[in-house]
């Protein structure tokens, strides 16, 4: 059973006290210019998932605590939580670098941006 810490209100709870929100850092492509979105892009947004065996980045909600959404980095093999971070931010730099497969691809330019501007807030 997972034991989870909410980074917003600081409460510790079991997995039943939280709600799983699936893969993190997915942006809705149709928000700014719906007409320019292809069917394949819409499919990627709705259905395509990285589904890694190992380090994963995901959303959780503090259901029975503060009710806020937050991000977590978790290993899908050991089930160990590596980090919790706010819903508006990217993961810690070392975890972005540790990511593999499609996640590594996704973080490539974000790592470059974070390293170009050290100390800056990592907005997603």
């Amino acid at each position: 059973m997972l034991v989870i810490n909410c980074p917003v209100c600081g409460v510790e709870g079991e997995e039943g006290d939280f709600h799983y929100g699936g893969q993190a850092h997915i942006r809705r492509p149709a928000t700014t210019d719906p007409d320019s979105i292809s069917d394949a892009e819409q499919r990627d947004y709705l259905f395509m998932r990285h589904n890694p065996k190992g380090l994963h980045f995901e959303r959780w909600r503090c259901d029975r605590g503060c009710g806020k959404w937050f991000h977590a980095a978790r290993d899908t093999m050991s089930l160990e939580f590596k980090a919790y971070y706010p819903i508006t931010e990217l993961p810690p730099l070392e975890l972005m670098k540790a990511a593999t497969g499609p996640w590594a691809e996704f973080f490539k330019d974000k790592i470059a941006a974070a390293e170009a501007k050290p100390g800056g807030r990592r907005k997603r």
């Binding site: 079991e14 259905f47 589904n51 065996k53 995901e58």
Partner: protein, 416 residues
Amino acid sequence: MNRYSVFSIARNAVNYHKDWGRAWRSPEPKPAYDAVIVGAGGHGLATAYYLAKEHKLTNIAVVEKGWLGGGNTGRNTTIIRSNYLQDASIAIYELARSLYEDLSQELNFNIMFSPRGLLMLCQTEHELRAMKRTSHANRLAGLDCRMILPAEVKQLVPIINDDPGARYPILGAYYQPRGGTARHDAVAWGYARGADAMGVDIIQNCEVTGIRRDGAKVTGIETTRGFISTPKIGVVVAGHTSLIMQMAGVNMPIESVCLQALVSEPIKPIIDVVVMANTVHGYMSQSDKGELVIGGGADPYNNYSQRGSFPSLEHTITALVETFPVISRLRMLRQWAGIVDMTGDRSPIISKTDVEGLYVNGGWGTGGFKTIPGSGFVFADTMANDRPHPIAEPFGLNRFVEGRLIDESVAAAVAH
């Protein structure tokens, strides 16, 4: 292959059963095959069997990272039914169920198919309505299913709690008399033996580590036992579909989660049908050994660990104790988990891909076992002719681009 019959038993009795041959060989991988199936579970072995039998492709191999039938084929709750809502689903699940009917004779291997009848309980007004809708869809498709009243449910399942004041009272059930169970290992073993007899190489302990591509087409697979050259690869690996497909540079609309099951200590026969209670998330049948075989919902989060969590178990057990109060003091013998690959619409993917020679059969989620013969049949046809079999066509990957989903999440969110 030694044919199994009453005469072969008599013949082998003379030698005190010391000379029974092995059911299949353990060959070394050849450097090249006409086609390679990745994954020796039920679906993969059935695909190989029908490729050899129906399409005369016998220079093929099935590679498996562990032992055959050691994944989800050996971890499910062995339920077979075909009463799905959508036409495309009905077609493939009923094809599979009808193939199960005489599979023991077909394979000369007793798969212990037991069409004992299957009930899907209706415990809310909404569920009753949804099931009536499914029953009409099934009736139009010619399926042998019907709605039954609470009195008949009680007659079929005497141990059920029929208290009308219960939190989730029994309002009726949807009954498929020819649904049931089969011995899951025997299905894998039977197909393995049949495929092997036709010359298919089943290579166990051979993990795929990479898929080699030459531009837009596949040329072979890298394995822990060396490179195998092949123009056609069929990926049939259940929970690891995303990972294997990523080796060929293809992303999948799949998430892998953990599904648990458990069995009780063996008891005398108390229930001779399969009962599924979808509102409260639990289902139960009794095995030939007397154990109650119990399943429930999947854990919500991505998981490759094959270890389930206690809250899901507790949820399932709570539901079943409420539905069958008599089981409340039973001890549970074993609990286990498998990794299932879930698609967005809870329907499988049987498809060609943009890479020439790469085919995928996965996304069966929580309901793969019941479809093994049908899935193998249509996937073999798809691979052999390089075009989707008519029954497989709606399950292509392009449905996610076209928005042509086959939504079974209402019909089969939990029990499968």
